[in-house]
């Protein structure tokens, strides 16, 4: 199941969105997440869906690849959906024993479920179309004004780079240890939750130890390659705003305007009157 998580993975490509300055993509993702909680009606979701669709279409990330990332949180989505469906008060539609399904409940459930799905898709899209190095560089740059207040922005970015780099390595390590323990009769699959949690100990302890060993090796390799923190350092990919970044900022402003007009109910009013007049 861990292998299905697309959050944090990069899908190589050379599209307009791939080449966009990472800082803009990060800010946009941030705005996007906030916007998901601002939108209130159907038209808001349409705006978000179209934006998302356009980005996915242009960046040519296969939809199946993105949807695969939803698999691990499928249960959470269903759970949210059901809870919202039963727990919202309002005009009741169906009553089953003590459970009532309300009109508002269905609406809420639908919106909350969609919201979660969009949240995951949107944030995994950021890492899918941004090189990890650029992403961390972007974060470093965005956080660098906070350095004055003692925030170690370079160190944070370096930690993220290394974490991303070592996810697959540790995954392989887990697999290896798991197989080694299974070969010696360890059972990771049967029993109740307590039993299963306990059976993870012989997996976690060696994994922890090997993580420390890897960290030590890596630290030595980094030192041998003259790493000495953020000062003195230059970057191969300098971050310079280009024309397309300016265009992206305009698009972002357009998006924000659409969301705000929608949140104020103006968009839906306009749309409705447009449909009526047609």
């Amino acid at each position: 199941m861990i292998r299905d998580i697309t959050l944090g993975q990069y899908y190589p490509g050379d599209s307009w969105f791939h080449r966009l300055d990472a800082r803009i993509k990060i800010i946009w993702t941030f705005i996007y997440i906030v916007s998901l909680f601002l939108i209130r009606d159907f038209w808001g979701y349409i705006t978000v869906l179209i934006t998302l669709g356009l980005i996915i279409g242009i960046s040519k990330v296969p939809l199946s690849f993105i949807l695969k990332g939803l698999k691990p949180i499928f249960f959470i989505i269903i759970f949210t959906f059901v809870i919202n469906m039963f727990m919202t008060k309002g005009t009741s539609l169906i009553e089953i024993g003590f459970l009532t399904i309300t009109k508002e409940g269905i609406r809420n459930a639908f919106f909350m479920g969609t919201r979660l799905v969009l949240l995951i898709i949107g944030s995994s899209l950021l890492t899918l179309i941004t090189k990890p190095i650029q992403l961390t560089d972007g974060i470093e740059k965005l956080l660098s004004p906070l350095q004055k207040f003692g925030l170690p922005s370079h160190e944070l970015a370096m930690m993220m780079t290394i974490a991303l780099r070592f996810i697959p390595t540790l995954m392989e390590e887990t697999d290896k240890i798991m197989k080694a323990q299974m070969a010696r009769g360890a059972d990771f699959e049967s029993g109740n939750i307590m039993r299963r949690a306990k059976s993870l100990i012989p997996l976690l302890v060696p994994l922890f130890i090997s993580a420390f060993r890897i960290a030590q090796d890596l630290a030595m390799a980094m030192e041998a390659r003259c790493y000495r923190g953020g000062s003195h350092r230059t970057r191969m990919h300098g971050m310079k705003m280009k024309k397309r970044d300016a265009a992206a900022i305009l698009l972002m402003i357009l998006y924000v305007t659409l969301i705000i007009t929608q949140a104020q109910g103006i968009l839906s009013f306009l749309m409705m009157s447009l449909i009526q007049s047609a």
């Binding site: 990069y10 190589p12 090189k131 990890p132 190095i133 780079t161 290394i162 991303l164 780099r165 697959p168 390595t169 392989e172 060993r213 890897i214 090796d217 890596l218 030595m220 390799a221 980094m222 030192e223 041998a224 390659r225 003259c226 790493y227 000495r228 003195h232 350092r233 230059t234 970057r235 191969m236 990919h237 300098g238």
Partner: protein
């Protein structure tokens, strides 16, 4: 000054917990290495060969004695970065020494640390990747590559720092035969381009390519000399718990049966040539 590295009376002790005697990993080691040479250091586990490598790169500092890289004492902190740039190091585990999740960004890591201009970094990265035949894979993620390819990237990462000397600490130990072959090809090429190569290994076969072989035992230099001369002393090598290269062993047995094979034949190619010439 044609000695790029000179190790003088080097003693290195690993500190242990209090009350326990420190472990002496290197005991009075003296080695002088000529610029542009290809040296193989071999020894069984615990012979101190890795410790020696880390001492050259100033990752470890001598307990007594001194190590000079390009004339700089490794204990001189003001020259630390210059020393590490001069003597680049490649480690054993290909997975644990790559920093970035994109091949070319990883190669750029060293020059970035040195504060090289971005355009120059780009040039160096491309050249280094070409030098190890990995240019095509420059956009890939390291974890999707084979061990040999990862190790070649690690080498490219060192080349991009423009070192005068490369120390390879058992670079082929975790590779399959094909990966081992690829890496050895690259090492030989680096040597031909004038870079000093110090290859630490425990595969005897690999030492036959070097110009000089140093055999370490229990923290000391046991044998030091040209490969043919070193392997002529097969009995002593075996006493140290090591094997002589396959061809040397065969030549020895052929000699015992009365076929005269010169002592300087140590590689398969030389042996094939010799036999082909002699028995045509």
């Amino acid at each position: 000054m044609n000695h790029i590295i000179s190790i003088e009376d080097l003693v290195f002790e690993y500190e242990r917990e209090e009350k326990l005697e420190p472990i002496k990993a290197l005991d009075n080691v003296n080695i002088k290495i000529k610029k542009g040479s290809f040296i193989a250091i071999i020894g069984s586990n615990g012979s101190g060969k890795s410790t020696l490598a880390k001492n050259i790169n100033a990752l470890l500092l001598p307990s007594s004695g001194a190590v000079y890289v390009k004339g700089f004492n490794t204990t001189d902190e003001t020259k630390l970065w210059e020393i590490r740039q001069t003597a680049g190091m490649v480690f054993q585990n290909p997975d644990n020494q790559l920093v970035s999740s994109i091949v070319e960004d990883d190669v750029a890591f060293g020059p970035e640390n040195l504060g090289v201009e971005p355009a120059e970094i780009r040039k160096r990265v491309d050249n280094s990747l070409c030098a190890v035949n990995m240019y095509e894979e420059r956009k890939k993620a390291p974890h999707l590559l084979s061990g040999g390819q990862k190790q070649r990237i690690a080498i490219a990462g060192v080349i991009a720092m423009k070192p005068e000397c490369i120390i390879l600490d058992e670079p082929t130990a975790m590779l399959d035969p094909h990966g081992r072959y690829e890496v050895m090809e690259i090492i030989e090429r680096l040597h031909n381009e004038g870079i000093t190569v110090i290859l630490i290994t425990h595969f005897m076969e690999e030492t036959t390519r070097a110009e000089r072989v140093i055999i370490m035992d229990a923290g000391k230099v046991a044998i030091d000399g040209a490969p043919a001369a070193v392997f002529a002393n097969a009995k002593k090598i075996k006493e140290l718990g090591l094997d002589v290269p396959f061809i040397v062993e065969i030549a020895e047995r052929l000699r015992n049966r009365g076929i005269d094979i010169p002592k300087n034949i140590i590689s398969i190619e030389e042996m094939v040539d010799y036999i082909a010439c002699k028995f045509k």
